[in-house]
């Protein structure tokens, strides 16, 4: 099972047990349903309820992205396995300050671990690392989510500042702007984060976790805020390392970006380059110490959901994932 990305305009339809992707030139590509995990739609695509009902029955997800490549929403089949008990626990851990803080801090801790791990790969980033560590120590002494978020935000700003040391000068980052991104590096970071977000969401969907209840982010911040929480850990590990590779090896060029009045965004060639690396990364396997099996980066995201479930049902204390290799 894998992810399918549709960049061209056209239509997707069902014919028997096969999904056909057809572009404007009438070229068709057949995908057996068993091969699909998630479909990501970037192009302008027509589809009908016959297709959606089929995808629902087969429990497949579709994520949609807008013109600029930003996540706009998902088609997620009706939950098959919900666990009432787990939902109650999720809420309980949100309402109890101490319990919520533990989880929120854990997500930040996992994120920071990978941020520092990235920085260690590059020269002249020591002072950034030092400042980030200081923020993390401060974060430990806080006890409100707001203060924690403040430390996390400052640590992240310092990290993005370090991008100027890491990345080639054309990709200078002045400051991180999200809405809207106005220069290439911001556009690239936003796109990459959006891909991590939807990937985490797909993984959450395959478990009994309710994606709307979160701990670090406020549940009202985004519809599927738990995805934002878990994505924190994987953004530096997966998305940022791809960004460094694409930029520093000249794989992405300024021509891969477009500019609008307010927006800077990756065009289709740029997106394809990113996604090629992204897909490869998700499929890359590493030897899992406890499972004694090779597991993919994508499964690591699923395991993070499992660990959270185990924490919530009082089975095993949650410890954020930290790459050990």
């Amino acid at each position: 099972m894998r992810n399918y990305y549709i960049f061209s305009n056209g239509r997707i339809r069902r014919k028997e047990n096969t999904v056909y992707i057809e572009n404007e030139q009438g070229e068709k590509r057949a995908i057996p349903i068993e091969d699909i995990d998630t479909i990501h739609v970037f192009g302008e695509v027509d589809l009908n309820t016959k297709l959606l009902n089929f995808l629902a029955q087969q429990n497949k997800i579709v994520h949609f992205y807008n013109y600029y490549g930003f996540y706009s929403g998902s088609f997620m089949p009706r939950d098959r396995n919900v666990s009432g008990e787990l939902l109650v626990k999720q809420v309980e851990y949100y309402l109890d300050n101490e319990k919520r803080f533990y989880l929120a801090y854990s997500f930040v801790e996992g994120a920071t671990f990978h941020i520092l791990r990235n920085l260690r790969e590059y020269k002249n980033t020591e002072n950034f690392q030092e400042k980030i560590r200081t923020e993390m120590i401060k974060a430990l002494e806080t006890n409100t989510i707001n203060e924690l978020m403040g430390c996390e935000g400052r640590a992240r700003d310092i990290y993005y500042e370090a991008f100027n040391v890491i990345l080639k000068p054309e990709f200078f980052i002045d400051k991180r702007q999200k809405r809207p991104p106005t220069n290439p590096i911001n556009a690239l970071i936003s796109f990459a984060n959006s891909m991590i977000y939807s990937t985490v969401l797909s993984e959450i969907y395959h478990t009994q976790l309710n994606p709307t209840i979160s701990y670090l982010h406020e549940p009202r911040q985004r519809r599927y805020s738990l995805s934002l929480d878990i994505a924190e850990i994987f953004k530096p590990l997966i998305a940022d390392t791809i960004i460094f590779k694409l930029v520093n090896n000249n794989m992405l060029k300024i021509e891969d970006f477009e500019e609008d009045v307010n927006y800077c965004y990756l065009n289709n060639t740029g997106r394809k380059k990113f996604i090629k690396e992204f897909d490869q990364k998700l499929a890359t396997t590493i030897k899992h110490r406890k499972l004694k099996r090779h597991v993919s980066y994508r499964s690591l995201i699923r395991f993070e959901c499992y660990k959270l479930i185990k924490h919530l049902i009082n089975d095993e204390l949650y410890k954020p994932f930290k790459a050990w290799w």
């Binding site: 666990s83 406890k290 499972l291 699923r302 395991f303 499992y306 479930i309 049902i313």
Partner: protein, 174 residues
């Protein structure tokens, strides 16, 4: 007579699904997780093969997949026997207690039959009769199921030889 009435009342509060009785003998932790709705997606080929075996092996039988009280789902019901079709006998004890439980359940409804487990792949069958000892074993199992699902957290992880083949393997060890 008085004893019988108590038995029936107890049975009402203890009766459960066949799969939970089965899981009790496989792994108590799996039973607990399953009971809480924490289930793994059944993408495993084994599950599919099991389903196909159940559907295709005995096309001429009269009653298949009989569901009783939404709790027990018997593969095949014949005149004198009920049958379960299994892929392998790796979990023989669990399959045996499940079938014993079905026989016990039917007996509470006034129906007496014997049980057969078929292993078409292995060309084997096992006959299962509900003896008094068997009935006591079922009762003990029902009490234990109730105890396990009543726990406020899952039974601790203990590695079993078949964990690596369990649908929960990645959940438990990941």
């Amino acid at each position: 007579m008085a004893e019988d009435i108590i038995d029936i009342i107890n049975f009402q509060s203890l009766k459960t699904t066949g799969i939970k009785v089965n899981y009790l003998y496989v792994c108590e932790r799996k039973l607990w997780l399953f009971d809480r709705g924490i289930q793994m997606e059944s993408t495993s080929d084994k599950v599919l093969i099991g389903k196909l075996l159940g559907e295709d092996s005995y096309p001429r039988e009269e009653k298949r997949d009989m569901m009783i009280d939404n709790l027990i789902n018997i593969d095949i019901v014949g005149n004198n026997e009920i049958r379960e079709v299994k892929y392998s006998n790796r979990m023989y004890n669990a399959d045996r207690i499940q079938l014993l439980y079905y026989l016990y359940y039917l007996k509470q409804l006034g129906i007496e039959k014997k049980g057969i487990i078929n292993y078409p792949k292995m060309r084997k069958r096992e006959e299962i009769i509900l003896t008094d000892d068997g009935a006591r074993e079922v009762e003990a199992a029902l009490v234990r199921v109730k105890e396990i699902v009543g726990m406020d957290k899952p039974p601790e992880l203990q590695k079993k030889p078949y964990c690596t083949k369990c649908a929960y393997y990645e959940f438990c060890f990941g």
